[in-house]
Point group: C2
Chain length 132, copies 2
Amino acid sequence: MNTTLKIIGYLRSDIKTREEAPKQGNEGGIEAIVEIQEEYEDAMDGMSVGSEVVLLSWLHAADRECQRVHPRGDETRPKRGVFTTRSPDRPNPIGLHPVTITEIDGFKIKVRPMEAIDGTPLIDIKNVQRHK
Amino acid sequence: MNTTLKIIGYLRSDIKTREEAPKQGNEGGIEAIVEIQEEYEDAMDGMSVGSEVVLLSWLHAADRECQRVHPRGDETRPKRGVFTTRSPDRPNPIGLHPVTITEIDGFKIKVRPMEAIDGTPLIDIKNVQRHK
């Protein structure tokens, strides 16, 4: 079984370091550009402005050996297992980012609100389920 | 950059084939067991019954070369890019499963509703964000 991820694109953002990144998109996330690799043109077919999607990212600056953290980095709170948190430090540092597409220009897709840092690799885009 | 996923556990489920699997957990998903590998004991610290979590799985039966599909497998609907769907067939076949933990017995965690097939590898467990 091959479990090596393919990088489908990269994030272009004004957030340059982990220190200045909000913890979640809805806590001060900004508009950012997702640049898709040209080989995934077919997978983008039908994407539209205004759509709500979930971006999956690979949080490349994370510590994959870390199993316990202070929740939200708050050292007054006791450490607990990363599976009970949203910490980027975890065995597989995959970020989930619910965003809205605000513009599409070829392989460049503008989204918001986005909290990941500039250069973060992207690994998937999923449609958001709506239950009507 | 190492983008090879670590398998943190496996799903044990009565759903044995992709054909009998519901498309989403809330469309007939069942109670199933997540068996965590013992090396991730620390990462489980603090998990509790009743918690809502998102499981991330690796949909190992998926076609990673596929970029366009009929939405929901419905051949009367025109094909479109997998990034506009929830199809398991996609460059990185990661499944997102919002579930509730119903029982914890050592490394065996019972969850529901779960639609993935028996033997599906698990790659992450995340806390669900609540905005109060």
